[in-house]
Symmetry: C2
Subunit: 286 residues, 2 copies
Protein backbone atom coordinates (compact mmCIF):
# COMPACT_ATOMS: atom_id res chain seq x y z
CA UNK A 1 0.00 0.00 0.00
CA UNK A 2 1.29 3.41 -1.05
CA UNK A 3 -0.62 6.41 0.20
CA UNK A 4 -1.29 9.72 -1.55
CA UNK A 5 -1.55 12.17 1.34
CA UNK A 6 -3.68 15.11 0.18
CA UNK A 7 -3.11 18.09 2.45
CA UNK A 8 -5.58 20.89 3.14
CA UNK A 9 -5.22 23.59 5.79
CA UNK A 10 -4.45 23.47 9.51
CA UNK A 11 -1.96 21.51 11.57
CA UNK A 12 -3.52 18.07 11.01
CA UNK A 13 -1.69 17.35 7.68
CA UNK A 14 1.69 17.91 9.35
CA UNK A 15 0.73 15.66 12.29
CA UNK A 16 -0.39 12.92 9.90
CA UNK A 17 2.69 13.26 7.65
CA UNK A 18 4.95 12.95 10.68
CA UNK A 19 3.01 9.92 11.95
CA UNK A 20 3.33 8.18 8.56
CA UNK A 21 7.04 9.02 8.49
CA UNK A 22 7.56 7.63 11.99
CA UNK A 23 5.90 4.31 11.19
CA UNK A 24 7.68 4.15 7.81
CA UNK A 25 4.50 4.05 5.74
CA UNK A 26 5.07 4.54 2.02
CA UNK A 27 3.52 7.81 0.91
CA UNK A 28 3.67 10.79 -1.43
CA UNK A 29 2.27 14.24 -0.70
CA UNK A 30 -0.06 16.56 -2.61
CA UNK A 31 -0.48 20.00 -1.11
CA UNK A 32 -3.59 21.94 -2.12
CA UNK A 33 -2.45 25.43 -3.16
CA UNK A 34 -3.86 28.16 -0.95
CA UNK A 35 -4.96 25.72 1.72
CA UNK A 36 -1.92 23.76 2.90
CA UNK A 37 0.14 26.57 4.39
CA UNK A 38 2.09 24.66 7.01
CA UNK A 39 5.60 23.34 6.42
CA UNK A 40 5.19 19.58 6.73
CA UNK A 41 8.88 19.20 7.74
CA UNK A 42 9.41 16.12 5.61
CA UNK A 43 12.75 14.81 4.29
CA UNK A 44 13.59 15.21 0.58
CA UNK A 45 12.97 11.49 0.10
CA UNK A 46 9.19 11.99 0.35
CA UNK A 47 7.79 13.02 -3.08
CA UNK A 48 5.81 16.24 -2.81
CA UNK A 49 3.84 18.39 -5.22
CA UNK A 50 1.46 21.32 -4.97
CA UNK A 51 -1.63 21.55 -7.15
CA UNK A 52 -4.10 24.37 -7.62
CA UNK A 53 -7.81 24.26 -8.36
CA UNK A 54 -8.26 23.16 -11.95
CA UNK A 55 -5.04 21.17 -12.16
CA UNK A 56 -6.98 17.97 -11.98
CA UNK A 57 -5.01 16.32 -14.76
CA UNK A 58 -1.73 17.00 -12.98
CA UNK A 59 -3.25 15.75 -9.77
CA UNK A 60 -4.14 12.31 -11.15
CA UNK A 61 -0.88 12.09 -13.13
CA UNK A 62 1.04 12.50 -9.86
CA UNK A 63 -0.98 9.69 -8.28
CA UNK A 64 -0.18 7.45 -11.26
CA UNK A 65 3.49 8.40 -11.44
CA UNK A 66 3.87 7.75 -7.73
CA UNK A 67 2.04 4.41 -8.03
CA UNK A 68 -0.29 5.32 -5.17
CA UNK A 69 -2.95 2.75 -4.31
CA UNK A 70 -4.62 4.63 -1.46
CA UNK A 71 -5.80 8.20 -0.98
CA UNK A 72 -5.82 9.93 2.41
CA UNK A 73 -7.22 13.50 2.49
CA UNK A 74 -6.63 15.57 5.63
CA UNK A 75 -7.06 19.17 6.70
CA UNK A 76 -9.60 21.82 5.88
CA UNK A 77 -10.68 23.12 2.51
CA UNK A 78 -12.15 26.59 2.89
CA UNK A 79 -11.90 27.95 -0.66
CA UNK A 80 -14.19 27.06 -3.47
CA UNK A 81 -13.13 27.67 -7.06
CA UNK A 82 -14.68 30.47 -9.05
CA UNK A 83 -15.66 28.46 -12.12
CA UNK A 84 -15.86 31.49 -14.36
CA UNK A 85 -12.14 32.23 -13.91
CA UNK A 86 -10.97 28.65 -13.49
CA UNK A 87 -8.11 27.65 -15.78
CA UNK A 88 -8.27 23.97 -16.48
CA UNK A 89 -5.41 21.80 -17.63
CA UNK A 90 -6.10 19.10 -20.22
CA UNK A 91 -6.94 16.39 -17.66
CA UNK A 92 -9.16 18.86 -15.89
CA UNK A 93 -11.31 19.41 -18.96
CA UNK A 94 -12.08 15.72 -19.10
CA UNK A 95 -13.33 15.51 -15.51
CA UNK A 96 -14.83 19.00 -15.30
CA UNK A 97 -18.53 18.02 -15.18
CA UNK A 98 -17.76 15.54 -12.43
CA UNK A 99 -15.65 18.09 -10.55
CA UNK A 100 -18.38 20.71 -10.68
CA UNK A 101 -20.93 18.23 -9.40
CA UNK A 102 -18.55 17.45 -6.58
CA UNK A 103 -17.92 20.98 -5.49
CA UNK A 104 -21.36 22.50 -5.73
CA UNK A 105 -22.96 19.92 -3.44
CA UNK A 106 -23.41 20.65 0.27
CA UNK A 107 -20.48 19.84 2.53
CA UNK A 108 -21.58 16.30 3.31
CA UNK A 109 -22.21 15.54 -0.32
CA UNK A 110 -18.82 16.94 -1.34
CA UNK A 111 -17.16 14.36 0.85
CA UNK A 112 -18.94 11.30 -0.47
CA UNK A 113 -18.71 12.65 -4.03
CA UNK A 114 -14.97 13.11 -3.69
CA UNK A 115 -14.64 9.54 -2.44
CA UNK A 116 -16.65 8.27 -5.42
CA UNK A 117 -14.40 10.15 -7.88
CA UNK A 118 -11.31 8.41 -6.49
CA UNK A 119 -12.91 5.00 -6.15
CA UNK A 120 -14.12 5.09 -9.74
CA UNK A 121 -10.46 5.46 -10.76
CA UNK A 122 -9.41 2.45 -8.69
CA UNK A 123 -8.00 4.24 -5.66
CA UNK A 124 -8.99 3.17 -2.17
CA UNK A 125 -9.97 6.05 0.08
CA UNK A 126 -8.83 5.69 3.70
CA UNK A 127 -9.01 7.90 6.77
CA UNK A 128 -6.52 8.90 9.44
CA UNK A 129 -8.00 6.37 11.87
CA UNK A 130 -6.93 3.59 9.48
CA UNK A 131 -3.60 5.08 8.41
CA UNK A 132 -2.46 6.28 11.83
CA UNK A 133 -4.78 4.96 14.58
CA UNK A 134 -2.13 5.86 17.16
CA UNK A 135 -3.11 9.52 16.65
CA UNK A 136 -6.49 8.92 18.30
CA UNK A 137 -7.21 9.21 22.00
CA UNK A 138 -6.83 5.86 23.76
CA UNK A 139 -9.30 4.56 26.33
CA UNK A 140 -8.74 5.89 29.84
CA UNK A 141 -7.14 9.01 31.28
CA UNK A 142 -4.37 10.52 29.18
CA UNK A 143 -3.57 13.26 31.71
CA UNK A 144 -2.41 13.08 35.32
CA UNK A 145 -5.39 15.34 36.10
CA UNK A 146 -8.47 13.25 36.74
CA UNK A 147 -12.16 14.19 36.87
CA UNK A 148 -13.50 14.86 40.37
CA UNK A 149 -15.99 12.36 41.79
CA UNK A 150 -18.86 14.75 41.18
CA UNK A 151 -17.98 15.07 37.47
CA UNK A 152 -19.76 11.81 36.62
CA UNK A 153 -23.20 13.44 36.30
CA UNK A 154 -21.92 16.16 33.94
CA UNK A 155 -20.08 13.56 31.84
CA UNK A 156 -23.25 11.48 31.56
CA UNK A 157 -25.39 14.50 30.70
CA UNK A 158 -22.95 15.92 28.11
CA UNK A 159 -22.64 12.44 26.61
CA UNK A 160 -26.40 12.24 26.17
CA UNK A 161 -26.48 15.76 24.69
CA UNK A 162 -23.60 15.02 22.29
CA UNK A 163 -25.45 11.88 21.22
CA UNK A 164 -28.62 13.91 20.62
CA UNK A 165 -26.62 16.46 18.58
CA UNK A 166 -25.19 13.58 16.55
CA UNK A 167 -28.54 11.84 16.08
CA UNK A 168 -29.94 15.09 14.69
CA UNK A 169 -26.84 15.24 12.44
CA UNK A 170 -26.11 18.67 13.92
CA UNK A 171 -22.68 18.26 15.50
CA UNK A 172 -20.23 16.19 17.47
CA UNK A 173 -19.95 17.89 20.84
CA UNK A 174 -21.79 19.15 23.90
CA UNK A 175 -20.96 20.84 27.19
CA UNK A 176 -22.60 20.24 30.57
CA UNK A 177 -21.75 21.94 33.88
CA UNK A 178 -23.33 21.63 37.32
CA UNK A 179 -25.94 19.18 36.05
CA UNK A 180 -27.06 21.39 33.21
CA UNK A 181 -26.52 21.15 29.45
CA UNK A 182 -24.91 24.46 28.48
CA UNK A 183 -24.35 24.02 24.75
CA UNK A 184 -24.72 21.62 21.87
CA UNK A 185 -22.48 21.96 18.84
CA UNK A 186 -23.83 22.86 15.43
CA UNK A 187 -22.21 24.01 12.18
CA UNK A 188 -20.35 26.72 14.15
CA UNK A 189 -17.92 24.06 15.37
CA UNK A 190 -16.28 23.28 18.72
CA UNK A 191 -14.23 26.47 18.90
CA UNK A 192 -17.26 28.77 18.57
CA UNK A 193 -19.31 26.61 20.94
CA UNK A 194 -16.61 26.89 23.64
CA UNK A 195 -16.48 30.68 23.13
CA UNK A 196 -20.23 30.72 23.68
CA UNK A 197 -19.88 28.67 26.87
CA UNK A 198 -17.28 31.13 28.20
CA UNK A 199 -19.61 34.05 27.43
CA UNK A 200 -22.62 32.35 29.05
CA UNK A 201 -20.54 31.93 32.20
CA UNK A 202 -19.18 35.50 32.15
CA UNK A 203 -22.68 36.90 31.70
CA UNK A 204 -23.97 34.60 34.46
CA UNK A 205 -26.68 33.17 32.22
CA UNK A 206 -25.66 29.89 33.83
CA UNK A 207 -23.49 29.52 36.92
CA UNK A 208 -20.89 26.95 37.85
CA UNK A 209 -17.74 26.92 39.92
CA UNK A 210 -14.48 27.22 38.02
CA UNK A 211 -13.14 23.77 37.16
CA UNK A 212 -16.55 22.15 36.95
CA UNK A 213 -18.21 20.78 33.82
CA UNK A 214 -17.03 18.92 30.74
CA UNK A 215 -16.89 18.94 26.97
CA UNK A 216 -17.83 15.62 25.40
CA UNK A 217 -16.81 15.06 21.79
CA UNK A 218 -17.79 12.00 19.80
CA UNK A 219 -18.52 10.87 16.28
CA UNK A 220 -21.95 11.24 14.76
CA UNK A 221 -23.88 8.05 13.92
CA UNK A 222 -23.11 7.18 10.31
CA UNK A 223 -20.34 9.80 10.04
CA UNK A 224 -17.85 9.13 7.20
CA UNK A 225 -14.66 9.11 9.29
CA UNK A 226 -12.47 8.93 6.19
CA UNK A 227 -12.92 12.65 5.60
CA UNK A 228 -14.23 14.18 8.76
CA UNK A 229 -12.78 12.91 12.01
CA UNK A 230 -13.29 14.86 15.26
CA UNK A 231 -10.18 16.42 16.81
CA UNK A 232 -9.08 18.21 19.95
CA UNK A 233 -5.86 20.20 20.26
CA UNK A 234 -3.94 22.52 22.57
CA UNK A 235 -6.33 25.41 21.77
CA UNK A 236 -9.29 23.27 22.81
CA UNK A 237 -7.63 22.74 26.19
CA UNK A 238 -7.00 26.49 26.59
CA UNK A 239 -10.63 27.18 25.75
CA UNK A 240 -11.79 24.61 28.33
CA UNK A 241 -9.78 26.51 30.93
CA UNK A 242 -11.17 29.89 29.77
CA UNK A 243 -14.73 28.58 29.97
CA UNK A 244 -14.20 27.46 33.58
CA UNK A 245 -14.64 23.77 32.73
CA UNK A 246 -12.82 20.79 34.24
CA UNK A 247 -11.95 18.64 31.26
CA UNK A 248 -12.66 16.82 28.03
CA UNK A 249 -14.13 13.40 27.43
CA UNK A 250 -13.75 11.99 23.92
CA UNK A 251 -14.80 8.81 22.20
CA UNK A 252 -11.77 6.53 22.56
CA UNK A 253 -10.14 5.52 19.28
CA UNK A 254 -12.28 7.87 17.20
CA UNK A 255 -11.17 11.39 18.14
CA UNK A 256 -7.71 12.63 17.16
CA UNK A 257 -5.31 14.35 19.56
CA UNK A 258 -3.68 17.19 17.59
CA UNK A 259 -0.13 18.24 18.55
CA UNK A 260 -0.16 15.50 21.14
CA UNK A 261 2.94 16.54 23.16
CA UNK A 262 1.88 20.18 23.30
CA UNK A 263 -1.72 19.16 24.05
CA UNK A 264 -0.67 17.11 27.07
CA UNK A 265 1.75 19.78 28.27
CA UNK A 266 -0.97 22.48 28.17
CA UNK A 267 -3.46 20.13 29.84
CA UNK A 268 -1.11 19.52 32.79
CA UNK A 269 -0.27 23.21 33.00
CA UNK A 270 -3.93 24.27 33.02
CA UNK A 271 -5.15 21.38 35.23
CA UNK A 272 -7.50 20.12 32.55
CA UNK A 273 -8.24 16.38 32.35
CA UNK A 274 -8.60 14.43 29.11
CA UNK A 275 -10.24 11.04 29.08
CA UNK A 276 -11.07 8.53 26.37
CA UNK A 277 -14.30 6.59 26.87
CA UNK A 278 -15.85 3.86 24.75
CA UNK A 279 -19.46 4.89 24.30
CA UNK A 280 -22.33 2.52 23.77
CA UNK A 281 -23.74 2.88 20.25
CA UNK A 282 -26.92 4.34 21.77
CA UNK A 283 -26.08 7.09 24.19
CA UNK A 284 -24.49 6.19 27.53
CA UNK A 285 -21.02 5.10 28.58
CA UNK A 286 -19.79 1.54 28.65
Amino acid sequence: MRIALICGGGILPKNVAQALLKKQSEFAVIRLAGEADTDLELPQSIPLTTVGWGQIGRFFRFLEDQKCSHVLAVGGVTRRPDFSSLKLDFGGIKVLPEAIATVIGGDDKVLSNVAAVFEKRGYQVIGVLEAAPEMSCPQGLVTRNAPADNAAADIELATRAAHAAGSLDMGQGAVAADNRVIAMEGPEGTREMLRRVATIRQQKRARWKSGQGVLVKRTKPGQDLRFDVPVIGPDTVRQIKDAGLAGIVVEAGRVLLLERDELLRVAEQESVFIQGIVFHPSAGQS
Copy 2:
Protein backbone atom coordinates in the same frame (compact mmCIF):
# COMPACT_ATOMS: atom_id res chain seq x y z
CA MET B 1 -59.91 37.49 42.20
CA ARG B 2 -57.69 40.53 42.54
CA ILE B 3 -54.22 40.29 41.01
CA ALA B 4 -50.96 41.76 42.26
CA LEU B 5 -49.01 42.34 39.05
CA ILE B 6 -45.30 42.28 39.93
CA CYS B 7 -43.29 43.92 37.14
CA GLY B 8 -39.66 43.20 36.25
CA GLY B 9 -37.83 44.47 33.16
CA GLY B 10 -38.68 44.42 29.47
CA ILE B 11 -41.85 45.13 27.53
CA LEU B 12 -43.84 42.12 28.78
CA PRO B 13 -45.15 43.84 31.97
CA LYS B 14 -46.64 46.67 29.93
CA ASN B 15 -48.26 44.21 27.52
CA VAL B 16 -49.75 42.24 30.42
CA ALA B 17 -50.93 45.37 32.26
CA GLN B 18 -52.68 46.59 29.11
CA ALA B 19 -54.27 43.16 28.56
CA LEU B 20 -55.60 43.10 32.14
CA LEU B 21 -56.90 46.65 31.71
CA LYS B 22 -58.64 45.75 28.46
CA LYS B 23 -60.46 42.76 29.94
CA GLN B 24 -61.25 44.75 33.10
CA SER B 25 -59.45 42.39 35.46
CA GLU B 26 -59.01 43.76 38.98
CA PHE B 27 -55.35 44.36 39.69
CA ALA B 28 -52.73 46.44 41.48
CA VAL B 29 -49.15 46.94 40.32
CA ILE B 30 -45.80 46.55 42.07
CA ARG B 31 -42.83 47.74 40.06
CA LEU B 32 -39.43 46.32 41.04
CA ALA B 33 -37.04 49.26 41.40
CA GLY B 34 -34.16 49.14 38.92
CA GLU B 35 -35.85 46.47 36.79
CA ALA B 36 -39.22 47.81 35.65
CA ASP B 37 -38.12 50.74 33.53
CA THR B 38 -40.99 50.94 31.08
CA ASP B 39 -43.96 53.26 31.53
CA LEU B 40 -46.90 50.92 31.89
CA GLU B 41 -49.29 53.64 30.60
CA LEU B 42 -51.97 52.83 33.13
CA PRO B 43 -54.77 55.18 34.30
CA GLN B 44 -54.56 56.71 37.81
CA SER B 45 -57.30 54.34 38.96
CA ILE B 46 -54.87 51.39 39.01
CA PRO B 47 -52.95 51.34 42.34
CA LEU B 48 -49.22 51.32 41.74
CA THR B 49 -46.15 51.22 43.95
CA THR B 50 -42.42 50.72 43.45
CA VAL B 51 -40.37 48.61 45.88
CA GLY B 52 -36.63 48.06 46.12
CA TRP B 53 -34.67 45.02 47.23
CA GLY B 54 -35.03 44.66 50.98
CA GLN B 55 -38.43 46.36 51.20
CA ILE B 56 -40.06 43.04 51.71
CA GLY B 57 -42.29 44.31 54.53
CA ARG B 58 -43.64 47.10 52.34
CA PHE B 59 -44.13 44.64 49.56
CA PHE B 60 -46.41 42.34 51.53
CA ARG B 61 -48.18 45.30 53.21
CA PHE B 62 -49.16 46.56 49.73
CA LEU B 63 -50.55 43.13 48.83
CA GLU B 64 -52.60 43.14 52.05
CA ASP B 65 -53.78 46.76 51.71
CA GLN B 66 -54.84 46.09 48.14
CA LYS B 67 -56.62 42.86 49.16
CA CYS B 68 -54.85 40.92 46.43
CA SER B 69 -55.64 37.21 46.27
CA HIS B 70 -53.41 36.31 43.32
CA VAL B 71 -49.81 37.09 42.38
CA LEU B 72 -48.66 37.40 38.78
CA ALA B 73 -44.93 38.08 38.27
CA VAL B 74 -43.78 39.12 34.79
CA GLY B 75 -40.63 40.48 33.18
CA GLY B 76 -36.96 39.87 33.79
CA VAL B 77 -35.01 40.22 37.01
CA THR B 78 -31.34 40.72 36.23
CA ARG B 79 -30.05 42.22 39.45
CA ARG B 80 -29.34 40.29 42.61
CA PRO B 81 -29.12 42.11 45.94
CA ASP B 82 -25.77 42.59 47.61
CA PHE B 83 -26.69 41.24 51.04
CA SER B 84 -23.82 43.03 52.79
CA SER B 85 -25.24 46.45 51.85
CA LEU B 86 -28.90 45.50 51.90
CA LYS B 87 -31.07 47.76 54.03
CA LEU B 88 -34.03 45.84 55.32
CA ASP B 89 -37.28 47.31 56.52
CA PHE B 90 -38.97 45.76 59.57
CA GLY B 91 -41.00 43.24 57.56
CA GLY B 92 -37.89 42.34 55.65
CA ILE B 93 -36.02 41.34 58.79
CA LYS B 94 -38.72 38.82 59.63
CA VAL B 95 -38.52 37.05 56.25
CA LEU B 96 -34.80 37.58 55.65
CA PRO B 97 -33.65 33.95 56.05
CA GLU B 98 -36.36 32.84 53.66
CA ALA B 99 -35.53 35.63 51.21
CA ILE B 100 -31.84 34.72 51.21
CA ALA B 101 -32.64 31.08 50.60
CA THR B 102 -34.82 32.18 47.71
CA VAL B 103 -32.28 34.37 46.03
CA ILE B 104 -29.12 32.29 46.37
CA GLY B 105 -30.61 29.25 44.63
CA GLY B 106 -30.00 28.67 40.93
CA ASP B 107 -32.43 30.30 38.52
CA ASP B 108 -34.85 27.40 38.41
CA LYS B 109 -34.88 27.07 42.17
CA VAL B 110 -35.45 30.81 42.61
CA LEU B 111 -38.69 30.47 40.69
CA SER B 112 -40.18 27.61 42.67
CA ASN B 113 -38.88 29.13 45.92
CA VAL B 114 -40.55 32.44 45.16
CA ALA B 115 -43.82 30.63 44.47
CA ALA B 116 -43.56 28.80 47.80
CA VAL B 117 -42.97 32.08 49.70
CA PHE B 118 -46.22 33.52 48.32
CA GLU B 119 -48.24 30.35 48.68
CA LYS B 120 -47.21 29.99 52.31
CA ARG B 121 -48.80 33.40 52.92
CA GLY B 122 -52.05 32.38 51.25
CA TYR B 123 -51.55 33.99 47.83
CA GLN B 124 -52.20 32.01 44.70
CA VAL B 125 -49.46 32.30 42.09
CA ILE B 126 -50.68 32.46 38.50
CA GLY B 127 -48.99 32.92 35.13
CA VAL B 128 -49.75 35.08 32.11
CA LEU B 129 -51.28 32.12 30.30
CA GLU B 130 -53.97 31.95 33.00
CA ALA B 131 -54.43 35.70 33.49
CA ALA B 132 -54.35 36.70 29.81
CA PRO B 133 -54.44 33.61 27.57
CA GLU B 134 -55.34 35.85 24.62
CA MET B 135 -51.71 37.04 24.63
CA SER B 136 -50.53 33.61 23.44
CA CYS B 137 -50.22 32.53 19.83
CA PRO B 138 -53.39 30.79 18.61
CA GLN B 139 -53.34 27.61 16.55
CA GLY B 140 -52.86 28.19 12.82
CA LEU B 141 -51.25 30.90 10.74
CA VAL B 142 -51.31 34.38 12.29
CA THR B 143 -49.68 36.05 9.29
CA ARG B 144 -50.78 36.32 5.69
CA ASN B 145 -47.35 34.89 4.81
CA ALA B 146 -47.48 31.11 4.82
CA PRO B 147 -44.70 28.50 4.88
CA ALA B 148 -43.73 27.14 1.47
CA ASP B 149 -44.59 23.54 0.73
CA ASN B 150 -41.00 22.48 1.20
CA ALA B 151 -40.87 24.01 4.71
CA ALA B 152 -42.55 20.96 6.24
CA ALA B 153 -39.29 19.01 6.61
CA ASP B 154 -37.51 21.90 8.36
CA ILE B 155 -40.48 22.42 10.69
CA GLU B 156 -40.48 18.73 11.59
CA LEU B 157 -36.71 18.69 12.14
CA ALA B 158 -36.62 21.89 14.22
CA THR B 159 -39.56 20.58 16.25
CA ARG B 160 -37.64 17.41 17.05
CA ALA B 161 -34.54 19.44 17.93
CA ALA B 162 -36.50 21.85 20.15
CA HIS B 163 -38.01 18.85 21.89
CA ALA B 164 -34.55 17.36 22.43
CA ALA B 165 -33.33 20.71 23.84
CA GLY B 166 -36.32 20.74 26.17
CA SER B 167 -35.92 17.12 27.23
CA LEU B 168 -32.32 17.86 28.18
CA ASP B 169 -33.67 20.92 30.07
CA MET B 170 -31.34 23.07 27.98
CA GLY B 171 -33.69 25.47 26.18
CA GLN B 172 -36.92 26.09 24.36
CA GLY B 173 -35.96 26.64 20.75
CA ALA B 174 -34.18 25.26 17.71
CA VAL B 175 -33.51 26.28 14.12
CA ALA B 176 -33.43 24.04 11.05
CA ALA B 177 -32.77 25.09 7.46
CA ASP B 178 -32.50 23.04 4.26
CA ASN B 179 -33.01 19.78 6.15
CA ARG B 180 -30.30 20.47 8.69
CA VAL B 181 -30.45 21.43 12.35
CA ILE B 182 -28.46 24.67 12.61
CA ALA B 183 -28.80 25.53 16.30
CA MET B 184 -30.35 24.45 19.56
CA GLU B 185 -31.01 27.02 22.26
CA GLY B 186 -29.22 26.92 25.59
CA PRO B 187 -28.82 29.41 28.43
CA GLU B 188 -27.76 32.06 25.87
CA GLY B 189 -31.42 32.49 24.89
CA THR B 190 -33.26 32.88 21.59
CA ARG B 191 -31.72 36.25 20.68
CA GLU B 192 -28.13 34.98 20.89
CA MET B 193 -29.04 31.75 19.13
CA LEU B 194 -30.51 33.68 16.18
CA ARG B 195 -27.36 35.87 16.05
CA ARG B 196 -25.36 32.66 15.84
CA VAL B 197 -27.55 31.34 13.01
CA ALA B 198 -27.03 34.59 11.06
CA THR B 199 -23.24 34.30 11.55
CA ILE B 200 -23.19 30.64 10.51
CA ARG B 201 -24.94 31.62 7.30
CA GLN B 202 -22.70 34.63 6.63
CA GLN B 203 -19.59 32.51 7.16
CA LYS B 204 -21.05 29.77 4.97
CA ARG B 205 -20.59 27.14 7.66
CA ALA B 206 -24.01 26.00 6.51
CA ARG B 207 -25.78 27.09 3.34
CA TRP B 208 -29.41 27.74 2.63
CA LYS B 209 -31.34 30.01 0.29
CA SER B 210 -32.70 33.21 1.80
CA GLY B 211 -36.21 32.67 3.11
CA GLN B 212 -35.69 28.99 3.89
CA GLY B 213 -35.65 27.43 7.35
CA VAL B 214 -37.57 27.97 10.58
CA LEU B 215 -37.29 28.73 14.26
CA VAL B 216 -39.41 26.47 16.46
CA LYS B 217 -40.11 27.62 19.99
CA ARG B 218 -41.97 25.52 22.53
CA THR B 219 -42.20 24.93 26.26
CA LYS B 220 -39.88 22.51 28.01
CA PRO B 221 -41.43 19.37 29.53
CA GLY B 222 -42.26 20.18 33.16
CA GLN B 223 -41.54 23.89 32.73
CA ASP B 224 -43.21 26.12 35.37
CA LEU B 225 -45.14 28.40 33.04
CA ARG B 226 -46.21 30.67 35.89
CA PHE B 227 -42.81 32.36 35.89
CA ASP B 228 -41.09 31.49 32.66
CA VAL B 229 -43.21 31.50 29.55
CA PRO B 230 -41.60 31.56 26.09
CA VAL B 231 -42.12 34.71 24.03
CA ILE B 232 -41.50 36.03 20.54
CA GLY B 233 -41.62 39.71 19.60
CA PRO B 234 -40.93 42.15 16.76
CA ASP B 235 -37.15 41.80 17.30
CA THR B 236 -37.43 38.03 16.90
CA VAL B 237 -39.06 38.57 13.51
CA ARG B 238 -36.32 41.00 12.44
CA GLN B 239 -33.69 38.47 13.48
CA ILE B 240 -35.45 35.73 11.50
CA LYS B 241 -35.17 37.96 8.43
CA ASP B 242 -31.49 38.78 9.15
CA ALA B 243 -30.70 35.08 9.50
CA GLY B 244 -32.24 34.32 6.10
CA LEU B 245 -34.99 32.16 7.59
CA ALA B 246 -38.61 31.86 6.42
CA GLY B 247 -40.60 31.96 9.63
CA ILE B 248 -41.44 30.97 13.17
CA VAL B 249 -43.46 28.05 14.46
CA VAL B 250 -44.51 28.21 18.11
CA GLU B 251 -46.45 25.95 20.44
CA ALA B 252 -50.04 27.22 20.16
CA GLY B 253 -51.47 28.61 23.39
CA ARG B 254 -48.17 28.40 25.24
CA VAL B 255 -45.91 31.02 23.64
CA LEU B 256 -46.66 34.74 24.06
CA LEU B 257 -46.74 37.22 21.19
CA LEU B 258 -45.07 40.40 22.49
CA GLU B 259 -46.21 43.77 21.05
CA ARG B 260 -48.71 41.87 18.95
CA ASP B 261 -49.69 44.65 16.51
CA GLU B 262 -46.08 45.65 15.87
CA LEU B 263 -45.07 41.99 15.64
CA LEU B 264 -47.63 41.29 12.92
CA ARG B 265 -46.79 44.51 11.08
CA VAL B 266 -43.07 43.66 10.99
CA ALA B 267 -43.83 40.06 9.96
CA GLU B 268 -45.87 41.20 6.96
CA GLN B 269 -43.27 43.81 6.05
CA GLU B 270 -40.41 41.31 6.21
CA SER B 271 -42.36 38.40 4.64
CA VAL B 272 -41.89 36.23 7.69
CA PHE B 273 -44.60 33.68 8.58
CA ILE B 274 -45.73 32.91 12.13
CA GLN B 275 -47.69 29.77 12.86
CA GLY B 276 -49.08 28.20 16.05
CA ILE B 277 -48.99 24.41 16.17
CA VAL B 278 -50.23 22.04 18.84
CA PHE B 279 -47.39 19.64 19.47
CA HIS B 280 -47.73 16.09 20.66
CA PRO B 281 -46.38 15.72 24.20
CA SER B 282 -43.58 13.57 22.78
CA ALA B 283 -41.93 15.27 19.85
CA GLY B 284 -43.85 15.58 16.61
CA GLN B 285 -46.73 17.69 15.45
CA SER B 286 -50.37 16.84 15.86
